[in-house]
């Protein structure tokens, strides 16, 4: 475990958006940042990605300070339509990732096939993002992210815009891929049930400004989890109480 991320305080526009956030993230772990809207979850994720800088404190990844974005930490956006390149087909979007990763061209076809197959998009490879459904676009974004073989996936409410059914499917899908690839995932959400379904650890954040991580809840339930299950229900209640108090 050499995967340390730590942010201490960032002041944006003269108010403290995040105050004294401490977060250590273990390799291969699924961590959820859970909090109400406007509590700075996305800000925190942007700092982890390297898009934003912490105004104080330090952010480290594998012992080295984070400076700028890097392909070891790939950000995954809610608006897949905006994040993907709309003028490239599904296949070409993955190829774009390989191109910027500077892999020898000979290896491209195999990698493209592998990840498109992993996200069940092999038969839609020639379609453009606009021709894909919301869930398919998210899967394509996952394939593209995995193609650069990151160590960490940073996900910013990735399934927030999907309908409930597609969302459930995406959860199963993401967990499956997570278990198969062993990536570390930092997942931002405001949905308690989503956090309980997915995470190893839930970091409950308080209302901003000056929000903190009030508590870290471990979820040690076997997967796949059912939110209606008694164990999951208890954790749901626990997290809900924490959020209300925060």
């Amino acid at each position: 475990m050499r995967n340390v991320s730590k942010v201490v305080g960032t002041a944006a526009e003269r108010y403290v958006a995040l105050d004294g956030i401490d977060l250590q993230d273990a390799e291969g772990e699924f961590v959820c940042l859970l909090g109400p809207s406007g509590c700075g979850k996305s800000t925190l994720l942007n700092i982890l990605a390297g898009f934003d800088q912490a105004s104080a404190g330090d952010v480290q990844f594998e012992g080295a300070p984070v400076r700028g974005a890097g392909k070891d930490r790939v950000m995954f956006f809610q608006d897949a339509g905006a994040a993907l390149l709309p003028w490239l087909s599904a296949e070409e979007n993955v190829r774009f990732a390989l191109r910027v990763r500077k892999l020898p061209k000979a290896q491209w076809p195999a990698i493209i096939d592998k990840y498109l197959a992993m996200v069940d998009l092999a038969e839609h490879r020639h379609k453009f993002p606009a021709q894909l459904s919301g869930g398919m676009r998210q899967r394509l974004q996952i394939a593209r992210a995995l193609a650069v073989e990151p160590k960490v996936l940073l996900m910013d409410e990735p399934f927030g815009a999907l309908d409930a059914l597609t969302r459930r499917r995406m959860h199963g899908f993401l967990l499956d891929i997570w278990q198969r690839t062993g990536k570390t995932i930092v997942f931002v959400t405001h949905d308690i049930a989503e956090a309980v379904t997915l995470a190893d650890r839930i970091c409950v954040m308080s209302v901003g400004p000056g929000s903190r991580i009030v508590e870290v809840v471990r979820v040690e339930l076997p997967r796949p989890r059912d939110p209606a299950d008694a164990g999951a229900g208890r954790i749901f209640k626990q997290v809900e109480t924490l959020l209300e108090a925060a």
């Binding site: 700028g68 905006a82 994040a83 390149l85 910027v100 650069v148």
Partner: protein, 257 residues
């Protein structure tokens, strides 16, 4: 959709027929054939001009002027527009100047262009360049500035270098804006070449208009006017076809997303 297409063509042809009928009506009933020569007279006037090649000489020279001015104007505007869209300081420095200068239409610049460049080709190139430049510049800058941040960040964390983000993400994102600007600028070029040639030229369609006006040859004026309509229309269509052929994948998603 052959049916929809046939319908469009039919309506287009119908519209032209109505226009000619109205033209004939205005010419013979409302006004008189000297003020508005009827369609047939105009075609009779046009025929010898076509046979002798006179009309083509004027068209060719006007097209060359539009071509040179338009291409150089686009090139310069795209380069500067990209810089303005990308480097905030340069934008803040130049934006006020551009916002003021862009209200000087090519027509307004004719008097000074004649003094600077004479009535030769250079003044016409300059005037078309001038008109094209500001339209394409404003559109390019807007397009580059509006390249979605999420798209750039997504590319950045995949490992794209700043140059790759610029070339493979920002420029394609701006393409629809640039192309739209070019299309508007082309239409405006066809409009501005006429006053430029009326006031300061010894050839071209504008000159043909001016010369025919002095000699009170209304039928020749109508030949020139009709030529301008057809030229503008044809070149706009050609431009659209070229864009569809080469850039459709950058253009179509706008309607889809």
């Amino acid at each position: 959709m052959p049916e929809g297409r046939a319908r469009t063509l039919l309506l287009f042809a119908g519209s032209i027929v109505v226009a000619f009928a109205l033209w004939q009506f205005l010419s013979t009933v409302v006004f008189n054939p000297f003020l508005i020569p009827p369609p047939l007279v105009v075609f009779e006037t046009m025929l010898p001009m076509v046979r002798s090649g006179e009309i083509f000489r004027h068209v060719a020279i006007s097209l060359a002027r539009v071509g040179v001015g338009f291409v150089t104007g686009c090139a310069a505007a795209i380069v500067l527009g990209v810089i303005l869209g990308r480097i905030k300081l340069v934008n803040e420095l130049l934006d006020p100047i551009i916002e003021l200068l862009r209200y000087l239409s090519p027509t307004a610049m004719i008097p000074i262009a004649v003094i600077w460049f004479g009535i030769g080709e250079t003044s016409k190139y300059f005037l078309i360049f001038w008109g094209t430049f500001f339209i394409v510049l404003v559109n390019t800058t807007a397009g580059v500035m509006r390249a979605p941040v999420i798209r750039q960040r997504a590319a950045e964390c995949l490992g794209a270098s700043p140059l790759q983000i610029f070339l493979l993400v920002v420029i394609p994102s701006a393409a629809p804006y640039i192309v739209t600007g070019m299309r508007i600028a082309m239409a405006s070029s066809f409009m501005s070449i006429i006053p430029a040639e009326i006031l300061a030229a010894d050839s071209g369609i504008g000159f043909l208009l001016q010369q025919s006006s002095i000699l009170l040859q209304t039928n020749r004026i109508f030949v020139a006017l009709l030529t301008i309509c057809v030229l503008g229309f044809v070149f706009d269509r050609l431009f659209r076809i070229a864009v569809d052929r080469m850039l459709s994948r950058y253009m179509s998603y706008i309607a889809l997303t």
